[in-house]
Symmetry: C2
Subunit: 321 residues, 2 copies
């Protein structure tokens, strides 16, 4: 598979530039607090609510940065990716903003609601067999036919830079943050966050959190090299992927720790956030608070930031009663 | 029943003063937009999100204004109300902010979660039989014993003035609004809103919306006097009460229209808002959008404000799947 790398490893400077580049398109999402949840975990929590972002997820940040960093010539040929998740919608919408074509490779068993969402943003879908080999072959074929640029969901430097922009906004509003908890799947959000956070405030502890059943980042960190997941049996569908070849070295260099959250607390934590804060978060976004509630990590009296990455939930599959 | 009236019918000036008075305590809630819901109803909608307000509902505005308008002497003796809903929590929290006692009369069959919430805010609960006569008698007894001031949930001028503050914030952010849709139960929110809205922008159309099964405000407007509800069989539990003796004349004088929403669209509309906007709203707060979705009212191409009054939902009673 051909993987465009983007325009070089992000720095605080390029993440700030990314922020200026995408600002006209994205929402500046609110930082929310909730005294009753604070009381449950004995910390002051600051939720950066990218579930209220365009397309309902932070992925629009990275996709928009990558799309608008392309030269006019590259852009005119369009962009391509394979994803059945938030990145597919994000790339389609960012491409529409730049008025260029987007080609999205999706498995033929992708949920209709996701297919419709991508089409609704103007994405042109090519279906593939639901396996990694055909997905890559299909993306390659689309690239050959169209000349479109491949934009990887996370292993792409301009995508990472875009994902790092949320923490700039968070630290503008809460400069005296002590700790930041970020979910980790492919690692694009965490890598971008680490570079921005450590650049702005070196003393800020940044901790990655993943579901205990998909703990590849934790095991990779311990092993010193990427160790893939044996199972992807988690409700946190956004975090099933392994950490990437480009994201992992950044995580390895800068992260303070990676911890896990118990699977059985993810839906109850979504419900707690819904009841107390009145906002809907994806299972993936419940992971950091679930780790706190389970007392796997605790920061008594500290100011703790939590990345709420998205709010795209299939309500037919989750029950809160 | 003794009913304190507050300090006189609100004016735009006293609502502005109320806003300054309560600002240090309440959130300035966001105005949210959603392009996919806009497309469903062919209007530009502006949701004033008081579900993200303290205690999860707009009621904190009126209660806080009423509590802080009391003289030192009155305040020292505390406040009393009867409510099993958002006003009870609001009054308890506002009283705690002023460091005075609050006495809340609740029916003995009130849900435990609501009892706990009031206690959590420091309210002292007296249970009564679940009927209007015992509720009033119990409140009278508490007043006699304590000297506390009765703060009615809606038929109280200072409460109405507080409820009117949300529209000041909304019109600051969206000055070119064409229409405003406000749910109507007892009419406190609508009355305060009407005075503020018509004071700031006389051309703004303000329309009250109620569930079709609890259409007392509509029928009262048609009859020219208060006509009570024969049934309260709606899931919109915040809108079951009849319009009040103090709120109705204001509504009668200033409202442009009162319309109803179909009962069967309330939960689906809550779900639409949850899926598209990622926020949880009470059934009562789904009523205005449900009226638009049902095409009972429509404002093609117009800028339409919608009051989201609260987000306190018993998730054990409502299913979205």
């Amino acid at each position: 598979m051909i993987s465009a790398l983007g325009t070089g490893r992000p720095t605080l400077q390029t993440i700030r530039e990314a922020h200026e580049r995408i600002k006209p398109y994205i929402h500046r999402t609110p930082v929310m607090t909730c005294s009753s949840i604070d009381a449950m975990v004995d910390s002051s929590l600051y939720f950066k609510c990218d579930n209220l972002q365009k397309i309902g997820a932070f992925k629009i940040r990275g996709a928009t940065n990558a799309v608008f960093k392309l030269s006019e010539e590259e852009a005119a040929r369009g962009v391509v990716t394979h994803s059945s998740g938030n990145h597919a919608q994000a790339l389609a919408l960012a491409a529409r903003w730049r008025n260029i074509p987007s080609y999205i490779v999706m498995p033929e068993d992708a949920p209709l609601v996701k297919v419709d969402a991508v089409r609704g943003y103007g994405g042109q879908i090519t279906f593939c067999k639901p396996n990694v080999a055909d997905r890559a072959a299909t993306a390659d074929r689309v690239m050959e036919q169209t000349g479109a640029t491949f934009i990887h969901p996370y292993d792409h430097y301009d995508v990472m830079a875009g994902q790092g922009t949320a923490v700039i906004e968070l630290l503008e509003e809460v400069p005296d943050l002590d700790v930041l908890l970020t979910p980790v799947g492919g690692g694009g959000l965490l890598a971008g966050t680490l570079i921005a956070a450590k650049g702005i405030k070196p003393s800020l502890r940044v901790i990655g959190v993943e579901p205990e059943r998909v703990d590849d980042a934790k095991r990779s960190l311990e092993a010193g090299h990427i160790v893939g997941n044996e199972s992807t049996n988690t409700i946190a569908d956004g975090l099933k992927t392994d950490v990437g070849e480009l994201t992992f070295p950044i995580i390895q260099e800068l992260v303070d720790d990676i911890v896990t959250a118990p699977e059985e607390l993810l839906v109850p934590t979504m419900r707690t956030i819904l009841e107390r804060m009145k906002i809907l978060v994806e299972p993936s976004s419940a992971v950091p608070l679930a780790a706190l509630v389970a007392n796997r990590i605790s920061f008594p009296g500290k100011r703790v930031g939590i990345h709420i990455g998205g709010g795209n939930v299939d309500l037919t599959k989750i029950r809160f009663d």
